[in-house]
Structure formats: structure tokens, C-alpha cells
């Protein structure tokens, strides 16, 4: 990874990309998550996803879209990849991700991956990615359910390739990438050599809407399903274990109404607000 002159690279970001110059094999990773609207909070504040429908993580759709845009600019191939338990076998979800553009889908499905921590997820993704082969792997900024923002970073580390997160713009050029990272008080522009792993922000793009044509085509695209053994990962031990996940304590709405504009009323309002926080 080389940090170059920012002004020069910003100019490059505006440069036109030429299709076919440097075709790229891109893997877009995604996770399926319980639909937020179906998540229920039990009386003990624990979370129930028993009745939840599973959906593709919203932030991962940005990763798929970023991959598609690079592919459309320089050619090559986009492969979608996910690891997890049997929920991944849902054929609607398979069509769902393929309808967003990727030409092929690979899944590593194993009961040992049920509720996997970020490290095991990253190791499973790395093993599958090695087997598939890649120039670039793109992940979302974090999973929609747990949002640890760890998997992309660990995946790059395991694969021992340049790894970046918080990427808000990517331009492929001459077999390299010029990427923009939006940091707190600056925009960092970097030239990245390939292969690499990049995690993109949610504002990098607007995922495309799948049309009926895309949806019908998705059902005909190849899907390969592997187990952990198939990708040569024998150690499914976890480095971390989630002990419990609790919803924030719910408070009854107080329904206090203060009327008037006097200092006294405002003080009372401030006092109540302060107590509430």
C-alpha cells in the first residue's frame, strides 16, 4: 500500500476507466441477517429471532454494488460469497443476491458456522476465497445485525493482503485501485495494489434495484455449496463467544406536558430532560 500525493490522486479519481485494461476477479461478501422488523424483545430483554424472516444485510448490498460497478468499468467477474449455517440454503436469498448482478455464488454452509464469531467467519471466508481465487474482496462496513466491523479487517489480515476499511470511493486503474477514505476531518486518497480486501461505507453507492429480468436470470446462475471441510478449514474453534445480547431497557412514555414559555417552564423542561438522559 502506497500513499501518494493527494491532489494527484484526486485527479485520478475523476479519470475515465477503460474497460478491458485490467479485468478483475472480485468477490463480494455478504451476510444474511434476521429482518429487523421481525425481531422481538422478550420480557427479560433477550432477543428473539424465532419468527424473523432472513434477509441480505443492507450494508453488504453496498459491497455487491461496489463490486458490480468496478466490474462494469474494467470487466472481469463478480462472485458473491457467504458463510454460515443452513439458513443460507434459502433459495430466495440466493436468487436475491444474484439478482443484484454477481455472475456466480459460493456458499460455505456448516453447522459449525452457526452464530460464528468474527474470527471464525473471517477464516471461513479466507479459506473459500483462496479456493475461488480473487484480485479483490469487498465487504460491507459491518454486518446489519451485530455490526462489529471486524470481518473485513480480519479477512485481509488472514489473507495477508492490503486491507482497508471506511472506503467511500473506488476507481480501478491499471491493475490498481485508487480509493478514498472519509475520515473524521480529512479525506484520505490511497493507491492500493492488488490483491486486496476493502470494506466499503454505506454512502459509497446506492445499490441497484433488481428488475424482473434480473430476478429471472438469477435463478439460472451457478451456485456452489461447500462445507468447512471442502474449503480445508478443520479448526472451527471460536476465539470469542457472545454470552448474551440484551435490548436496552424500555421506559414507559412519561407523557408530561409543559405549557408556557417562561424561564421557569424552560428550567423545568431542562431539568426533566437532564434526568431522562
Amino acid at each position: 500500500m502506497v500513499i501518494n500525493n493527494i491532489a494527484e490522486n484526486t485527479k485520478k479519481l475523476g479519470a475515465k476507466q477503460t474497460r478491458g485494461e485490467t479485468r478483475m476477479n472480485i468477490i463480494a461478501c455478504y451476510k444474511i441477517v434476521p429482518d429487523e422488523k421481525d425481531i422481538q424483545v422478550r420480557s427479560d430483554r433477550s432477543i428473539s429471532i424465532d419468527k424473523a424472516e432472513w434477509v441480505i444485510g443492507q450494508y453488504d448490498l453496498n459491497a455487491v454494488e461496489a463490486a458490480m460497478q468496478i466490474y462494469e468499468a474494467v470487466g472481469g467477474k463478480v462472485t458473491a460469497l457467504s458463510v454460515g449455517d443452513r439458513q443460507l440454503e434459502n433459495s430466495k436469498l440466493k436468487k436475491g443476491v444474484l439478482s443484484r448482478g454477481p455472475q456466480e455464488l459460493f456458499l460455505v454452509i456448516d453447522e459449525a458456522l452457526s452464530g460464528a464469531d468474527t474470527n471464525l467467519t473471517a477464516r471461513a471466508l479466507a479459506a473459500a476465497a483462496r479456493k475461488i481465487g480473487f484480485d479483490l474482496i469487498i465487504c460491507g462496513e459491518g454486518s446489519q445485525d451485530l455490526y462489529s466491523q471486524q470481518v473485513g479487517i480480519q479477512l485481509g489480515q488472514i489473507l495477508n493482503v492490503p486491507t482497508l476499511n471506511a472506503v467511500s470511493r473506488i476507481v480501478a486503474e491499471n491493475g490498481k485501485l485508487i480509493v478514498e477514505r472519509s475520515l473524521e476531518d480529512e479525506v484520505e486518497v490511497l493507491e492500493v495494489s492488488l490483491p486486496a480486501v476493502i470494506s466499503v461505507t454505506t454512502d459509497i453507492n446506492q445499490p441497484r434495484i433488481a428488475s424482473m429480468k434480473d430476478i429471472l436470470a438469477a435463478g439460472k446462475k451457478p451456485v456452489t455449496q461447500w462445507s468447512l471441510a471442502d474449503v480445508g478449514l478443520n479448526d472451527a474453534n471460536r476465539r470469542t463467544e457472545i454470552l448474551y445480547t440484551l435490548a436496552p431497557e424500555q421506559a414507559e412514555r412519561k407523557r408530561i406536558i409543559l405549557e408556557g414559555e417562561s424561564e421557569e417552564v424552560l428550567d423545568k423542561f431542562y431539568e426533566l430532560l437532564r434526568k431522562a438522559i
Binding site: 430466495k92 436475491g96 439478482s99 434495484i209 424482473m212 430476478i215 435463478g219
Partner: protein, 380 residues
């Protein structure tokens, strides 16, 4: 009986929801409605994302789908608060693609792909509403040209469409089934005068009087076969009726969901109004009507897709949906109280836009006439 949608249908509806909820706020539709503007950006987005050309043959860039899928999409557009009534033109486009000349088809598709309306349908006349046989607009041939004379009314989109598919009567033909011919009339031709009508709903689409005074067109402007005007329109007649029923259903669902959410939030006498049994009764009967409408509409679509006649069932569905959807929206307005009567909330727009379903596309009375005759015939 399998009531599940296919995975493809579910994904398509998810896509539609994503498009509308992400890119078109209620504010947008409200503004178009207030300004009486055609929501061109929305219609273009429907085309760009493959929804506007559903049901249109592949050779014209469309995606053929079964009737049920088309119905589900129409219902969902309306359920999301978007002007579903504008989506109904998809079958008129199919009519043009079936019977139009190459030039007419090219113009239709070019404009449709831009989200615009290519043509309006010119059938109704002051003396010929439900009684379409009373049409008296004529065509006469003189010096190798064709001249159209007549007065059309309630013509949807006449101000914005560059062409009118104009139904004319040949009074020299006594057999009514062979007396009507359709023509492709440019709306900017000399002799065409358009005057907008002022309606209480459907503000996103204009509706007009059209006066045709010796409008000169060419022989090539005929649409399909001379004398076969109405027979040609029969191709999609029943599905168009069904589409209206589906849109009415979607509007009712939209109002119902708004009202149910409101009933959970609105507090009166120290409790959410949803805890009062009178409100629960309303919501329960609204839910029953929605369930009935859905079952009727889906079953008709299934009949169409399986080659079963829907002559009676589509009339029953149109009649029931037009009435029940209005009752549901009216009750939703009742639950919303004063807020529902203001233009701040979309319930009032749904209420205004929905009422036409009992009049347009065949009145309630005509549906009863069709169904009644059909029912008696079955037991003769």
C-alpha cells in the same frame, strides 16, 4: 390450494418496495398531487427499473409476466401510496403493440421508455358513457385523406399525450360489431381542441374534453383493422378491469395500514384509541374486506393465467373492490379523525382518488349488468 407467492414474485415486490420507499417520499406524491402534476420522475423510475414495461413483449424491451404478477405489482404500487392508477396504462400499450403499425408502435415505445404517455384512449363521448354503442364521432374519406369529426369527453391524459387512440363510428354499417374503427390522431393537428375537466381526484393525471373538428389524418393512421375497433380492445378488457380492482385494493391496504398504526399511537381518554372496541370493530371489518378483495382479485388473475373465463368473476371483483375499497378508506378516515380530513395526510388523497373506481372502467351498475346476465345464463 397454494396461496404462496413465487420467490420471483416476492423478490420483485421487494425490489418495488425498495425503489419506492428509497426514492419517492410521500412528500413527492403530495406535491405532485397539489400541483396537479404528472409524476414523470416516478413513472420514469418505474420504466428504468423494469416495472413500467412488465407484461410488454421482450422484443419491445419489456418483460412478459403472468397476470397475477402484473396484478401484484399494481396492488403494491397503490399500497405504498403511489399513484397506482397511472400504472393501468400498461395494457393499453399492449393493445397498441398488438394492433398498431410499425410507426405507431415505435412512437409508443419511445415515449413509454421515457416514462411518458404516448397516447390517450378516446372512447367516451357526452352521449356515450356506459352506452359505448352510442359513439357518434365519425371518419370520412375525401381526396385521399381521412377526416375525424366528433366530441370526446373524460379523456384521461389528453393534455399530455401527443396522440389519441380515437374510436369512431361508421354509420353506413348496421352490424354494430363491425361499425367501429380506431384511428391514431395527433393531438397537435389543426381542428383538435382540448379543454381540461376539473375533478375531485386523480390530480396527477389530467382528464379532458376533446373536440375534433374536421381533423385531417392519413389512411396510414388507422389502428388495426377497419370495423374491428371494439373487438381489438377486447383483448385486454377483462384484465384491465382486474387491474383497476387491484389498484383499489392497494389503496385500501394503504389506508388500512395508516389507520391501524394511528390507532396504536393516538391517545384519547388516557389510552391508545386502538384499545377501544369500536375502533377494533372497524379495523376487523376493514381487514375482512381487504382479505375478500385480495382473494377475488388473485383468483381472477389465476383464472386468466389458466385459460378459465373471467367474464363474470372479473365483473364481480371490480364491483366488490370498487365498493369495499372505498368503505375501507372511508373507515380509515374515520379512525384518523380530523387529521384524515386534511390534505396533510394521504388518507384524504386516497379517499378522493379511490372514488372513481365505482364509475370508471365500467360503472358499478354496468358490472352488475355483466355479472347478472352471466349468472342467469349459467342456470338457464
Amino acid at each position: 390450494m397454494d396461496f404462496r407467492k413465487t420467490e420471483e414474485q416476492e423478490l420483485l415486490l421487494e425490489s418495488l418496495r425498495e425503489l419506492i420507499t428509497r426514492e419517492f417520499s410521500e412528500e413527492y406524491f403530495k406535491e405532485c398531487d397539489e400541483k396537479h402534476q404528472y409524476p414523470e420522475k416516478f413513472m420514469k423510475a418505474l420504466v428504468d427499473n423494469g416495472f413500467g414495461l412488465l407484461g410488454i413483449p421482450e422484443e419491445y424491451g419489456g418483460t412478459p409476466v403472468d397476470t397475477l404478477t402484473l396484478i401484484l405489482v399494481s396492488e403494491e404500487i397503490a399500497r405504498l401510496g403511489a399513484p397506482g392508477y397511472l400504472f393501468g396504462s400498461v395494457l393499453q400499450i399492449d393493445d397498441m403493440l398488438t394492433f398498431g403499425s410499425e410507426e405507431q408502435k415505435k412512437i409508443t415505445m419511445e415515449l413509454t421508455k421515457q416514462g411518458k404517455i404516448a397516447f390517450c384512449l378516446g372512447i367516451t363521448e357526452p352521449q356515450a358513457g356506459s352506452d359505448t354503442n352510442a359513439i357518434s364521432t365519425t371518419f370520412t374519406r375525401k381526396n385521399g385523406k381521412v377526416y375525424i369529426n366528433g366530441h370526446k369527453t373524460f379523456i384521461t391524459g389528453a393534455m399530455s399525450a401527443p396522440y389519441m387512440l380515437c374510436m369512431t363510428r361508421d354509420f353506413s354499417v348496421s352490424d354494430l360489431s363491425r361499425a367501429f374503427t380506431m384511428w391514431w390522431v395527433p393531438m397537435d393537428a389543426p381542428g383538435v381542441r382540448i379543454e381540461p375537466l376539473h375533478k375531485i381526484g386523480w390530480f396527477m393525471q389530467n382528464t379532458c374534453e376533446v373536440y375534433l373538428d374536421n381533423v385531417e389524418i392519413e389512411e396510414k393512421d388507422i389502428v388495426g383493422r377497419e370495423g374491428y375497433g371494439f373487438i381489438q380492445l377486447m383483448k385486454n378488457f377483462e384484465v384491465e378491469r382486474l387491474l383497476m380492482a387491484a389498484i383499489a385494493l392497494g389503496q385500501a391496504e394503504c389506508a388500512f395500514e395508516d389507520a391501524a398504526r394511528y390507532a396504536n399511537q393516538r391517545v384519547q381518554f388516557g389510552k391508545p384509541i386502538g384499545t377501544f372496541q369500536l375502533i377494533q370493530e372497524k379495523l376487523t371489518y376493514m381487514a375482512i374486506k381487504i382479505e375478500n378483495m385480495r382473494n377475488m382479485v388473485y383468483k381472477c388473475a389465476w383464472e386468466k393465467d389458466n385459460g378459465i373465463s373471467l367474464q363474470v368473476s372479473s365483473a364481480l371483483a371490480k364491483l366488490y373492490c370498487a365498493q369495499a375499497s372505498f368503505e375501507v378508506i372511508d373507515d380509515a378516515m374515520q379512525i384518523m379523525g380530523g387529521i384524515g380530513y386534511t390534505t396533510d395526510h394521504r388518507i384524504s388523497r386516497l379517499w378522493r382518488d379511490n372514488r372513481i373506481n365505482r364509475i370508471g372502467g365500467g360503472t358499478d351498475q354496468i358490472m352488475i349488468h355483466i355479472a347478472g346476465r352471466g349468472i342467469l345464463k349459467q342456470y338457464r
